[in-house]
């Protein structure tokens, strides 16, 4: 249980409240880095971190290209860039074309994180209105990591979680409270 090196969360429409609840529940000394790839407006560069930070005990950062990944921080994929995790635990960013109508793309973030962390990654997919993230979560499974989706019955928009469950056999289907309890047990 304590072998995990990182947690990656993907979400889109309807995920903001869920993410806010999750990060508000994590203590200031939470040891694992949380990597978040959330669909957002491409042209609005500021405000999202500030909104999420209101209830967070942990620093929330939009990583710059080549920034080293550090424990005890929450990283948010910046607007209009894809966010990758490179071998050696540094972020890289890319302006490549949109994937699944999205930049940042959840699939691309999950592909690189699962390749880097292999079985030491926990991947979580939350509420969302398209299928971005489904193949990404499958890559977490394929690399031996642990997968969680928010219970579609609880999601404001269940398209993303349902697509993820169709793409791979997920380990857990959790309510927001169960996701929080699980993450707290990892600490």
């Amino acid at each position: 249980m304590n072998d995990y090196k990182a947690i990656m969360i993907g979400g889109s429409a309807g995920s903001f409240q869920v993410v806010s609840r999750i990060i508000a529940a994590l203590p200031a000394n939470y040891p694992l880095p949380i990597l978040m790839c959330l669909h957002r407006l491409k042209h609005i560069r500021s405000g999202f971190v500030e909104a999420l930070s209101i209830k967070s005990n942990l620093p929330i950062i939009e990583p710059h290209d080549k920034e080293p990944l550090k424990p005890g921080r929450i990283y948010l994929a910046p607007a209009n860039y894809h966010m990758y995790i490179e071998l050696g635990n540094r972020f890289s960013l890319s302006t490549e074309d949109v994937v699944n109508h999205s930049r940042p793309s959840i699939d691309l973030s999950f592909f690189s994180a699962s390749y880097n962390f292999k079985k030491k990654l926990v991947g979580i997919i939350l509420s969302g209105a398209n299928k971005d993230g489904a193949l990404g979560l499958k890559s977490v499974t394929d690399n031996g990591g642990l997968t969680i989706v928010q219970d579609p019955k609880e999601c404001q928009v269940p398209t993303m979680t349902t697509a993820s469950m169709n793409a791979t056999k997920v380990d857990y289907v959790f309510s927001t409270k169960q996701i929080i309890d699980f993450l707290l047990k990892l600490a």
Partner: protein, 276 residues
């Protein structure tokens, strides 16, 4: 269709590219390089990484075709509208106060940044007051940009919205013509521009000191050792007091050479050269 390649495939291709084309990609950011290679394999009609490697070794794929499909696009005109406003209202007029001012754009691919720059210069009424030297990674890029580029409807829609946010002085549509649902920018915008192929920025030797270098979202492609070499090349070619502009989520924090620069606009990532 190839979906993915591994480390061994990637290394084999890098080695073949070095042998056949003399281009060293061993210090490129792995994830981006891997994705670009997968794109190149599929676009250039190979059925596997081995087939692609073999074609490169036999030079069945030209260096120009390879570099054309490998190029990382910027993906929209007037990306980060607030930067272009700053350039139009402050920095471009400032550098035009000196005669013979030159701007260097060392790696133009799709042409979005170049045409954005050309438009703001035109809108500032400064056409003919400076020169822009542009390098492209392949001859195909040079020809494409020389003729105004070729952009799909989606890109034009995003760019129209960016142009509105930038507060342009006219309609974005006045800068392009449509043909078969693809847009080409008006080549007259490039009246101050010299286009030249240069596949590797480290081999570029423009022999000039520039008032401004625009190199946005290109450092993303490089690992730190190569990133440092590229930054050194950029700074060497910048006048003292000249400006270097990089992407808004890029940083010079990991570069020793960046000590020669000072930040003048942190949000838009505009740096000024302090010393040689």
């Amino acid at each position: 269709m190839v979906d993915n390649i591994g480390i061994v495939d990637t290394r084999n291709i890098i080695s073949a590219v070095t042998e056949s084309y003399g281009i060293d990609m061993s210090d490129y950011t792995f994830t981006i390089l891997k994705r670009r290679l997968v794109n190149a394999i599929n676009t250039l009609g190979s059925h596997s990484a081995d087939d692609f490697t073999d074609k490169i070794r036999r030079k069945a794929i030209s260096a120009d075709d390879f570099l054309y499909v490998m190029a990382l696009e910027v993906t929209e005109f007037f990306r980060d509208p607030s930067l272009w406003r700053e350039l139009r209202d402050r920095y471009i007029p400032e550098i035009c106060r000196t005669a013979d001012s030159r701007i260097w754009m060392p790696s133009a691919t799709s042409g979005d940044e170049l045409f954005s720059l050309a438009i703001i210069i035109a809108e500032a009424g400064l056409q003919g007051k400076l020169k822009i030297d542009v390098n492209c990674p392949s001859d195909k890029h040079v020809e494409l940009i020389r003729h105004g580029g070729s952009y799909d409807q989606k890109k034009i829609e995003v760019s129209e919205a960016n142009y509105t946010r930038y507060a342009g002085k006219t309609q974005f549509a006045s800068y392009y013509t449509l043909n078969d649902n693809r847009a080409s920018m008006k080549p007259a915008l490039l009246s101050d521009v010299t286009l030249e192929k240069q596949a590797d920025i480290l081999n570029a030797n423009p022999g000039k000191r520039y008032k401004m270098i625009v190199y946005r979202n290109k450092l993303l492609q490089f690992n730190i050792p190569l990133y440092e070499k590229v930054i050194r090349k950029l700074v060497e070619n910048l006048e003292i007091g000249g400006y270097l502009i990089i992407g808004n989520m890029e940083t010079l924090e990991y570069s020793e050479t960046s000590k020669k620069l000072q930040v003048v606009n942190a949000n838009e990532k505009i740096y000024k050269k302090r010393v040689d």
